[in-house]
Amino acid sequence: MIDALPPGLILILGALLIPATSGLVRQGLVLALPLLTLWAIWLVPDGVQATLPFFGYMLEPVEGSIVGRLFATVFTVMTLIGGLYAMNQARAVELAGAFGYAGSAVGVTFAGDLITMFVFWEIMAIGSTVVIWAAGTASAYAASMRYALVHIFGGVVLMVGVVGHIAETGSIDFVAMQADSLARWLILIGFLVNAGAPPFSAWLPDAYPEASPSGTVFLSAYTTKTAVFTLLVGFPGEQILVWVGLYMALYGIIYALLENDMRRILAYSIVNQVGFMVCGIGIGTEMALNGAASHAFAHIIYKALLLMSAGSVLMMTGKRKCTELGGLFQSMPVTAFCGIIGALAISSFPFTSGFVSKSMINQSAADLHLTFVWMMLTAASAGVFLHAGIKFPWFVFFQKDSGMRPPDPPLNMKLAMYVFAGLCILLGVWTDPLYAILPYPVDYVPYTGDHLVSQFQLLLFAGLAFFVMLPMMKRTETISLDLDWFYRRFFKAIGTEFTVRAGDHRQELEQAALARLGRFVEGLYRHHGPQGILARTWPTGSTVLWVAILLGVYVVIYYI
């Protein structure tokens, strides 16, 4: 029986209304829909609230859970403030896409079974593709198609896994499992494609920075964090995730260090941050899972803030490359200030949200005496300050003076940045509200003298390294090759080569066949045509002559 509707449906259905409205009505809708959804989310109690028969299976489209509510809450807060940021500047199609995308992400967090999860998962892919595509440029269109292909591939892998899993176990319940059969491996891989895990990390920095200033803000929040949610529910403690996460954390840093496009730097740092969460899920203790969940919560807010800051710069200057930016703090103080708050939060600076969330992941590695993992996570934490914490604000707002003096963006965009900057600080200094809604009871005190001293040392000396190494970090107008090179260049080149060679060969075959046909026709014509020997009329006289000759020869031979 349906006696509760999925809260995500409010956003999905509301998204369809957005293009039909304009002016104040649309602004009201953009703010009211997320608030209404937030209210609906907190009305759903724990446990299965609605079932729906489907081909002999009982779907559970609404199942309340602590971790689902946590993710749904931050998704909706993100939609609200992202909507505030975007409502006057974004195209209607982008807002509609973003709201549908957000609603389906909320849908995943309430899915009690794999089929419901998969349906919302796929709506997300459509919504997000629309958001990228709505930027309206040729490069955005191309990027949105590459993005869609990767996600359709990921979706197919996930679907095959889900079908196999249901065939093996007979159960569609979305509960914790282990990667112990091909089907469950495929489910894990399907989740990881959306998390930006290797070898499928490149879709994220490829596609997100091509969206509009507000589009990238929406994109940064849902796909990867929904993947974190599904990994958290489906594969807690799966050991391979520790290594996948560490790889992602370091990959993000290295590529961000090489990057010139400010929003692509931040896109690489999404992979880096999701790496911390994936690693935490792999560690799998209660503290590590709390760390992954709270870090996802904090991350959505500070990453959106960073991309709002970068988006404001893009909108006001039309430029996105570090080589063309610089000195903007003078005329865009609000954007610079809020960007710096976001940069501090992503770096887990004390008194920001990142400090109280990520530390739990590092602490859980230390508690289990996973020396190597802890060392890598700590190095990656220092690297975050290097590649995002300082690099982004430094190259955009300081470094050389670009001479540009654009003003701060319009009021609604500034307000959105203020709200998220405030939340970054608030969550950092007042931990109780966040800790209260985590999946497990929190037995962790972030503010100890020990922790503060070591974090300040780590980050400030990472900062020193940045300025000491600055000559080596001079930006160049380059991109860095990634594994997407295989589908953007290698397979394309192979395809082109195949087409060219196959075309040549086909032409040869065709010409040979035509020549043979020509010879056949020619032969026919020679023998049967007007001059053809077989078409000639044979005079009766010559036949008689031949018969006479043959008879004569016969008679001669007979007598001999």
């Binding site: 260090l257 005496h369 780590l458 400030l460 380059t478």
Partner: protein, 86 residues
């Protein structure tokens, strides 16, 4: 770095004198964060992480290593940003 006459037109934050003061301030803060360890001893989990100045040294050295590592990888991976455009 720039001539003093240019400096007066600049925002106070980017004048050479201010930048020098900022470096001095930064150096002082760095020194304090390490020296404060004398008062607040670190309880490491693995031994090495409780050493004096370990987080500072580790943060600095790993970052230098990452920058150098990225630079080396960049030799192989970097292409002009119009690489995929055609």
């Amino acid at each position: 770095m720039s001539a003093p006459s240019d400096d007066r037109d600049k925002h106070w934050l980017v004048r050479a004198a201010t930048i020098r003061k900022l470096w001095i301030l930064f150096a002082a803060i760095l020194a304090v964060t390490v020296l404060v360890q004398l008062a607040v001893p670190l309880h490491g989990h693995f031994g090495i992480d409780g050493w004096f100045g370990f987080p500072a040294a580790y943060g600095f050295l790993t970052c230098v290593a990452m920058v150098v590592g990225a630079k080396i990888l960049g030799i192989f991976l970097k292409r002009k940003d119009s690489y995929y455009d055609d």
